[in-house]
């Protein structure tokens, strides 16, 4: 009995000690992460425009309600969705294919992987500048090659139809290598014995890839998709530098429109509400992808 009481006392003291130990980190977390988030949440329920004569005041859910009637919000959501689906699909397929090819290389895997990383390391403004030169109608190399092939020159970012695909191309160039590296690291972590057994059982290389490699990579794929989903929903830098959201609103993403409302029109309440809606959207989508990842692996892999 005495031993039990002693243990209880020890566990009570231990709890206090534990609380004391985590308190600084918790306070820091609350101070630099939770408090600003709550402050921003409060702001999203306010009418607060820095250039308005009105004093900031509480307006309930009006900012959120206004979002549903704002055609520019819906068009920017549409642009973001098309962009996200396009880049994730293309980058995933290309990333996986290149990673599989890289895995089969007998030599220079590390060297190639390092070189592949360069586009993702570059500053987005450098990337935008270089693509601005590439897309240039008169002196850009892309149109130069089209001219050599006697094909019509392209305006690239100059048409409402062409601008978004041009941005997808830039994002593809910048972020596919990142996808390749994630997939390559995933492939390297898979147990070789499974593939060897499949080979002994007579499976072709294609069958091994489809029925073993890809299912086993499912968790890596999910993480990669979530990371790129977050990146695609936050896309701002290359839009700002290459198209400024135009022509018209054809490349105006959610992040760009939030910036316009917050930093060009200084409507803090409305732009914060938009940011929270984006946050909720990404969280829900990420949760769905994680849910898919946590589903038990089917018979084909067993």
């Amino acid at each position: 009995m005495a031993a039990v009481v002693g243990r209880r006392r020890a566990s009570g003291g231990g709890r206090r000690f534990a609380l004391l130990t985590v308190a600084p980190a918790t306070l820091l977390l609350v101070g630099i992460s939770i408090f600003p988030l709550l402050w921003a949440l409060r702001l999203s329920f306010m009418q607060d425009s820095l250039l308005s004569v009105a004093t900031p005041h509480f307006i309930g859910v009006d900012n959120y309600a206004h979002l549903f009637h704002d055609p520019l919000f819906w068009s920017s959501l549409g642009v973001t969705s098309v962009f996200a689906v396009s880049v994730i699909t293309i980058q995933l397929v290309a990333g996986l294919a290149i990673a599989l090819a890289l895995d089969r290389l007998p030599r220079y895997q590390q060297v190639i992987a390092t070189i592949l990383l360069i586009p993702s390391i570059l500053s987005p403004s450098v990337v935008s500048f270089q693509w601005r030169q590439l897309f240039d109608y008169y002196s850009g190399p892309l149109n130069y090659f089209l001219g050599l092939l006697h094909l019509p020159l392209q305006g690239w970012t100059a048409s409402a139809r062409g601008a978004l695909p041009a941005l997808v191309l830039v994002d593809f160039w910048e972020w596919t290598p990142f996808m390749v590296l994630l997939m390559f690291a995933g492939i390297k972590s898979l147990p070789r014995s499974v593939f060897e057994a499949a080979r002994i059982d007579g499976s072709s290389g294609w069958q091994v890839t489809i029925f073993q490699t890809i299912p086993l990579l499912r968790r890596v794929i999910a993480i990669a998709v979530i990371l790129r989903l977050i990146g695609a929903f936050k896309i701002f830098d290359i839009i700002y530098s290459l198209t400024a959201g135009g022509p018209g609103t054809s490349t105006e993403s959610l992040a760009f429109y939030t910036y316009v409302q917050g930093f060009r029109y200084f409507d803090l309440g409305y732009s914060t509400a938009m940011a929270f809606v984006t946050l909720i959207l990404i969280t829900v989508l990420a949760r769905l992808i994680l849910g898919f990842m946590e589903r038990p692996i089917g018979r084909s892999v067993g």
Partner: protein, 463 residues
């Protein structure tokens, strides 16, 4: 005393904390922090905010002379051309003293004065220091003053202007620059021979394409607003103007929606475009053999019927600078006629004439004293400038102007890209303008607009 608001309170608390923390600081520094310094205690290297690129060059060309003459020198802080407004406002609302001198387009003046971002120049000297009698009335009365007070000094006098290839006109049997927009469209069509020669080009990129719409809108008799702040853009004058611009797109390079200021210069200077409407500094570049393929083959003329004057640049003292007296000296130096005349004829910057004395064609030399264009070209250029001013249509410059303009620009760009018809785009912009007016307090906007229009009349502008 300014009203106690949340921001004022936070800023004042921060300032008080800083002062307490610097308990041992000298009285001079404290006075400086409170903005009541004298010129002798102020810094002599001053942070000059300006859109980055060629327009900052004159400050650097004259840095040494300025130091000798008035004892101050500039440190340039370049901001992006599109995005300058939000960057300045972001700094100013936190009462940042990162800028001493602000160089910006006058359509920011309405907002900046209303929000208390600027010192009056006359707090540190006299109006006579700026020889205002020599400044062209349209810039002096409309762009520099608010409520009778001088807040800014001119740095650049922009206007749109036609630049055209006389050789291409001659070849097509066209004898003069167009004087109506119907003529302009017909001329562009006649000269359009893609892919080697395009009939015309204009600023089609998002950011400033609204200016090329307003240029035609003004010619159609359009007004920004009626006296009760009903937007004028969605009426017949506006719809017809936007339809004209959309029509002109047919006779333009295929990348027209990608064309901004540098690309528009390039489209003309590389010899592929017969006629452009562009800011007037293009003429200086078109007559410079290091930049142009058409030296001696260019003609210049005002835009048909009315001539829009978008942008321009003025210099003002930030309300939060610790160095207001020295900032005044820098502004006064750069505004001098003998300094500014060297800028406005130099093809390596974008500054344009804003003083009567700038129209002396014998002064067409760059800052090193080298002639920049032939006497004949200079005469045509100056004549086009004078003609443009006579039919000048000023840029909107009331509180909220950047926001009104941004929305208009977006909608014009949307129509140009085929996303909506001219009527739909302008109706949508008009609705947004009404929302902005309401948000900014309609009665205050009515008064601000009336005062602004009144300044036109004082400047002799028929509006």
């Amino acid at each position: 005393m300014p009203p106690i608001t949340r921001r004022n309170f936070l800023a004042d608390s921060a300032k008080a904390s800083a002062l307490l923390a610097l308990g041992g600081t000298s009285v001079g520094s404290l006075l400086s922090a409170c903005g009541t310094s004298s010129a002798s205690s102020e810094a002599t290297t001053l942070a000059v905010e300006i859109d980055a690129g060629q327009n900052a060059n004159p400050f650097m060309w004259f840095a040494n002379d300025m130091q000798s003459a008035v004892g101050v020198s500039p440190k340039i802080i370049g901001l992006p051309f599109v995005g300058q407004y939000e960057k300045i406002v972001s700094e100013m609302i936190t009462r940042s003293n990162v800028y001493d001198v602000l160089v910006f387009p006058p359509f920011f003046v309405g907002d900046f004065v209303a929000k208390g971002f600027l010192h009056k120049l006359t707090d540190f000297g006299s109006e006579s220091d700026f020889k205002l009698d020599d400044v062209l009335p349209v810039y002096r009365d409309v762009y520099l003053k608010r409520n009778g007070n001088l807040y800014a000094a001119a740095y650049d006098g922009d206007q749109l202007q036609i630049a055209y290839r006389k050789d291409m006109f001659d070849k097509a049997g066209i004898t003069k620059a167009p004087t109506t927009w119907d003529e302009f469209v017909a001329t562009a069509q006649a000269l359009h021979q893609p892919p080697t020669q395009y009939g015309n080009a204009f600023y089609g990129q998002r950011g400033f394409c609204y200016g090329w719409f307003i240029n035609i809108f003004a010619a159609n008799g359009g007004k920004w607003f009626s006296s009760d702040m009903t937007p004028g853009i969605a009426g017949d004058a506006g719809v017809k103007a936007l339809e004209t611009l959309i029509k002109l797109k047919r006779y333009a390079p295929p990348n027209i929606l990608q064309i901004g200021y540098p690309e528009l210069n390039e489209a003309y200077l590389n010899g592929s475009t017969a006629m452009v409407v562009q800011w007037n500094d293009l003429a200086l570049k078109a007559e410079d053999s290091t930049k142009s393929k058409s030296v001696g083959m260019n003609g210049y003329a005002p835009s048909p019927v009315a001539n829009y004057m978008p942008y321009s640049r003025v210099m003002a003292i930030s309300a939060y600078t610790s160095n207001p007296h020295n900032s005044y000296k820098l502004i006064q130096y750069m505004n001098r006629s003998e300094v500014s005349i060297k800028d406005v004829y130099d093809p390596n910057c974008g500054e344009d004439p804003f003083r009567t004395s700038h129209f002396d064609t014998s002064a067409v030399k760059d800052h090193t004293g080298k002639p920049t264009m032939s006497a004949a070209a200079a005469t045509t250029y100056v004549s086009a400038n004078k003609g443009g001013l006579a039919i000048g249509y000023p840029e909107l410059s009331i509180p909220g102007a950047p926001r009104y303009i941004d929305i208009l620009d977006l909608k014009v760009n949307e129509a140009l890209s085929g996303g909506s018809t001219a009527a739909q785009a302008l109706k949508s912009a008009s609705d947004e303008w009404n929302s902005i007016t309401t948000a900014l307090d309609k009665s205050a906007q009515v008064k601000a607009y009336a005062d602004w229009v009144d300044s036109f009349h004082k400047a002799g502008i028929n509006y």
